[in-house]
Symmetry: C2
Subunit: 161 residues, 2 copies
Amino acid sequence: MLRLTKKADYGLMAVKLLAEHWLRQPDEANRALSAKDIADAYHIPPQLLAKILQTLARTGILVSHAGIYGGYSLARNPESITAFEIIRAIDGPLFITSCITVNGNCDLVGTCTIKEPLSKVNDSIREVLTKIRMIDMCEPPVGTAHGHEKTELVTLDTHSH
Amino acid sequence: MLRLTKKADYGLMAVKLLAEHWLRQPDEANRALSAKDIADAYHIPPQLLAKILQTLARTGILVSHAGIYGGYSLARNPESITAFEIIRAIDGPLFITSCITVNGNCDLVGTCTIKEPLSKVNDSIREVLTKIRMIDMCEPPVGTAHGHEKTELVTLDTHSH
DNA sequence: GCTCCTACGACCACTCTAGTCCTATAATCA
DNA sequence: TGATTATAGGACTAGAGTGGTCGTAGGAGC
Ligand code: SF4
Ligand code: SF4
């Protein structure tokens, strides 16, 4: 539940890489990265990523450039691109429950008593995602450093018994 | 994406109704509501709701009582029950991405550069859900009242037709 | 013209969701 | 005791959604 799709996940990774590339390459000429480049960098399926980037280009977050030495680059500077935009562009505008954004296929909308509280939850999550700009993901060690490096929660315990 | 399952949705509605029933009925005797009662109140599939309530009882949020005049009631007072518990009990502990809580079937965990930012998003959402107690959902017109009464949505219409 | 790239629709395997059905069991009352 | 009412839980299914592939069309530079 409440899980992000992998497409949105891939999209965030791609835009993050493009944002870093943008910051590294001030001249516009070399700003583009092809879908295959990004896919290779993260070992994600190239054709799938291509479609994701196409979607992002269609919504105006990226600009595409066909032909040799073509590819994708950011349409705006990475300060103005939020994680919310990217997720919304890829996964659509739908949110927590069926009834909130769309008028909903849920026929309980008359008797339901929790759609207003959940609507607030929805707003909170959207706000959290909107606050995250791509430039924030590019520079991890800025402020709010409370020691405790590494944050190694995963530990990857694949103890194959 | 980021959508709550309907089971969790139903679970929240049920616990909310039980919480209101708890507040109305100070004596412990009449606190129980059967699965069918709740299902009828909201027109949701009774057998599906039954399984949800069983799950909630198994995790200790509700207590069940078999037999005639049996049913479910809250295991604790509605101040200490959060929306997060209910959602987690029904939909499991999994969250935003595959890699955060579980060790993850995602094999990009080595190259991925966004799992730490997303982990913070995950924490934010969990915090939002943890802050919502059931008693908060029961009393809408407390502060932040901007007119718009009505609040009488449940009305417990067990009118046996 | 060739090659590299985007654009897009069709397609598929797989998983998850929502819901049903069935049987077993526990508690209450007559 | 037995009937009734309720929970407990497993098996199962149709449908939707996800993750991913393939093939083709078309634009851009050499
Ligand atoms: S109306 Fe209620 S039950 Fe239906 S989707 Fe909205 S919150 Fe969920
Ligand atoms: S490792 Fe990265 S790509 Fe994989 S699930 Fe986590 S955030 Fe997503």
